[in-house]
């Protein structure tokens, strides 16, 4: 096993990865920007290196600074977490060129799957079902428009270099297509440095079901079951659960088999996630592959009793998978809520600040992944994810009750600080979610209904006027 690794990330995931390293006896090097000096992973790590100022471009995305920190500290491998450089094929290559193990797939696999059009073509070849759409780069607005007319509206235009729900536009009418196409290309160029887009049929309501896979470097691939991530706001996940409620018998086996076939076709190595959409008529379609550990991985860990970061490290150091598909048995029900420092009353604008009070939930089968602590000044520079609250219970109903109990006792307060805790409780208590018949339209429906918070909630969600 590695002697020392560098974690090229921040916030909750950096601490989460560091904890597994400590359990495995691996020394941890944390990197941080000037703004993250007080972040929880810094004192936790065995060594820390300040790599740049606050802006991510000059710190967490600055490849030379991270590689230099790794080489000087004697780290053998780099764990990229999620976001930042985790799906940057160039970074994976630079690691390799400098004798560092990148904990993730090979650079050429990342490059191919990161190009969503190329990924669609590959998965089509591998026999996965896809929604009708382009599998070749679109050469002109006219060609794209013609294809959209053939597919039938509504269609969605997506950035080929995008992913994670960003850089997408839905077109309901042929008359609106050309303008939307140009706007999406411009946005793609601005956000991802690559204007290429693809067109796909759009499902107005669907369930987002993803399959976790593990692949070693010997061609062995297993799937670790599914996660239902249908609770989303503007394509950003808020609540995730495993197993997916109320799916037809055999569906998950078929989706799992498709993910395994896709992973093998891609030459995937490591932990990855195959995202699918499940249509109201019960058909699943491939969306994209995420070539990294995901935010919501704890949900799978809880229903399997496995440490996915430990599995990533074992794969990276050249071990074979220790389990076969038959060994994979999901048990009970796990739910994760992402607690963001955002104000739901003000369109979810970020609301970070000094956390005067930070008392996480606890108790039986409750897990909190967070970099927050009392007295922590949460920076405004980075994303608003403050904590992941994960619960497990033998049944889904019990997991929902346990999650409501845990959300109710989680105390986060500070001047100007708001969190989404109250909103998450609303979601969990909605009849559609409780019945497990919700889809990606749930959050919009909740806004439309404008229900009030459950009574008796003891949670203090914000303080004001604290000096």
């Amino acid at each position: 096993m590695f002697d020392k690794i560098l974690i090229a990330n921040r916030g909750e995931i950096a601490l989460r990865v560091a904890r597994t390293c400590r359990e495995l006896g691996i020394k941890v090097v944390a990197v941080h920007s000037t703004e993250d000096r007080e972040s929880a992973v810094v004192p936790y790590a065995d060594e820390s290196v300040q790599i740049g100022p606050a802006p991510a471009k000059r710190s967490y995305l600055k490849i030379p600074a991270i590689i230099e920190a790794a080489l000087r500290s004697g780290a053998e491998a780099i764990h990229p977490g999620y976001g930042f450089l985790s799906e940057d094929a160039d970074f994976a290559q630079v690691c390799r060129d400098n004798g560092l193990v990148f904990i993730g797939p090979p650079p050429e696999v990342i490059a191919r799957l990161g190009d969503k059009t190329a990924a669609r073509a590959l998965m089509t070849q591998a026999g996965l079902p896809l929604l009708p759409g382009s599998v070749e780069p679109l050469r002109s607005a006219e060609e794209a428009h013609e294809l959209a007319n053939q597919i039938g509206y509504p269609v969605i235009i997506k950035a080929a270099a995008g992913g994670g729900g960003r850089g997408m536009r839905v077109v309901h009418d042929s008359a609106d297509f050309t303008a939307a196409y140009r706007e999406t290309r411009a946005g793609a160029q601005a956000f991802f440095g690559d204007p290429r887009v693809f067109v796909e049929r759009y499902l107005p309501t669907a369930r987002h079901i993803e399959i976790q896979i593990l692949a070693d470097s010997y061609g062995n691939v297993v799937h670790l079951g599914e996660r239902d991530c249908s609770v989303q706001r503007r394509h950003q996940k808020l609540v995730e659960e495993s197993p997916a409620p109320h799916v037809p018998a055999g569906l998950i086996d078929r989706m799992g088999a498709a993910a395994v076939a896709g992973a093998k076709a891609a030459g995937y190595v490591g932990a990855g996630t195959f995202e699918f959409l499940l249509s109201p008529s019960g058909e699943f379609s491939f969306m994209e592959v995420n070539c990294r550990i995901q935010v919501e991985h704890p949900v799978t860990e809880m229903v399997l009793g496995m440490d996915l970061v430990a599995e990533q490290l074992r794969i990276a150091v050249g071990e074979r998978l220790s389990l076969t598909q038959d060994d994979v048995q999901l048990r009970g029900s796990a739910i994760e809520c992402r607690i963001n420092a955002e104000n739901p009353e003000k369109d979810f604008t970020p609301a970070p600040g000094l956390l005067v009070e930070f008392v996480p939930a606890g108790g039986p089968f409750v897990r909190v992944d967070t970099h927050g602590y009392s007295g922590y000044r949460m920076p405004a520079t980075y994303d608003s994810l403050l904590a992941k609250l994960v619960v497990w219970a033998p049944t889904r109903d019990e997991a929902i009750s346990r999650m409501d109990r845990a959300l109710g006792e989680f105390r986060i307060a500070g001047p100007g600080v708001h969190t989404t805790i109250g909103f998450l409780r609303q979601v969990l208590l909605s009849s559609a979610f409780r019945a497990g018949v919700h889809d990606t339209a749930l959050v919009e429906q909740i806004f439309a209904q404008r229900r009030s918070l459950p009574t008796g909630s003891p949670a203090i969600t914000h303080l004001s006027g604290v000096a």
């Binding site: 060594e47 290196v49 030379p64 409750v366 009392s374 922590y376």
Partner: protein, 187 residues
């Protein structure tokens, strides 16, 4: 599956500086990991103290830093006293101007990136500057190497080198103070 550890932080302000000063970490002792190698700890505290002092306009009268089993106690002589400063436990290598009565007004030249700091343009050449050298604004005082790229380190201000804060060949972090300069008028 609950998270037992918690880390408290205290913050304070010193010397009227508007930047918060990191004073002492407090840890949940029950959840403390085994004591790390003392040398690593000393190194870490030393570089933290340097960084901390680099943020302040004037060195404080006194500073105490706890980390694990290591405690640093630093005192600076009050103005007008001719006595040498008092050290306790492991004295850090924070340089002081020899024979000075008042706290020095130091300016710092900091690392623009992570890398390795060199005093010389090449191993066989004389160093760019050394303690006591007079430096003009815009003069090169060193090199930081990062990923085979040699980045010239240039002093923004004129002054006299009070100390080379990092050794030739030391690894440096972003913004770490490398060279301390005093005003040319100071004796």
């Amino acid at each position: 599956m609950t998270d037992q550890g918690s880390t408290g932080r205290t913050r304070g302000e010193q010397d009227g500086s508007t930047r918060p000063t990191y004073i002492s970490p407090q840890r949940n002792r029950d959840a403390e990991p085994p004591a790390p190698d003392t040398t690593v700890l000393l190194d870490k505290v030393r570089s933290t103290v340097r960084l901390l002092l680099g943020e302040l306009n004037h060195p404080p009268r006194a500073l105490r830093v706890h980390a694990g089993d290591v405690t640093f106690d630093l005192e600076w002589e009050p103005p007008g006293s001719g006595e040498a400063p008092v050290h306790a436990a492991a004295p850090p290598e924070v340089p002081e101007p020899a024979g000075s009565d008042a706290p020095p007004d130091w300016r710092y030249v900091n690392a623009p990136t992570v890398g390795v700091f060199y005093h010389r343009p090449e191993p066989s050449a004389p160093p760019f500057v050394e303690e006591g050298s007079v430096v003009s604004a815009g003069q090169q005082v060193g090199i930081v190497e990062a990923m085979k790229l040699m980045i010239p380190i240039v002093s923004e201000h004129a002054g006299r080198v009070a100390a080379m804060l990092k050794q030739n060949g030391d690894s440096v972090e972003y913004d770490e103070p490398l060279v301390a300069l005093t005003d040319l008028e100071a004796v």
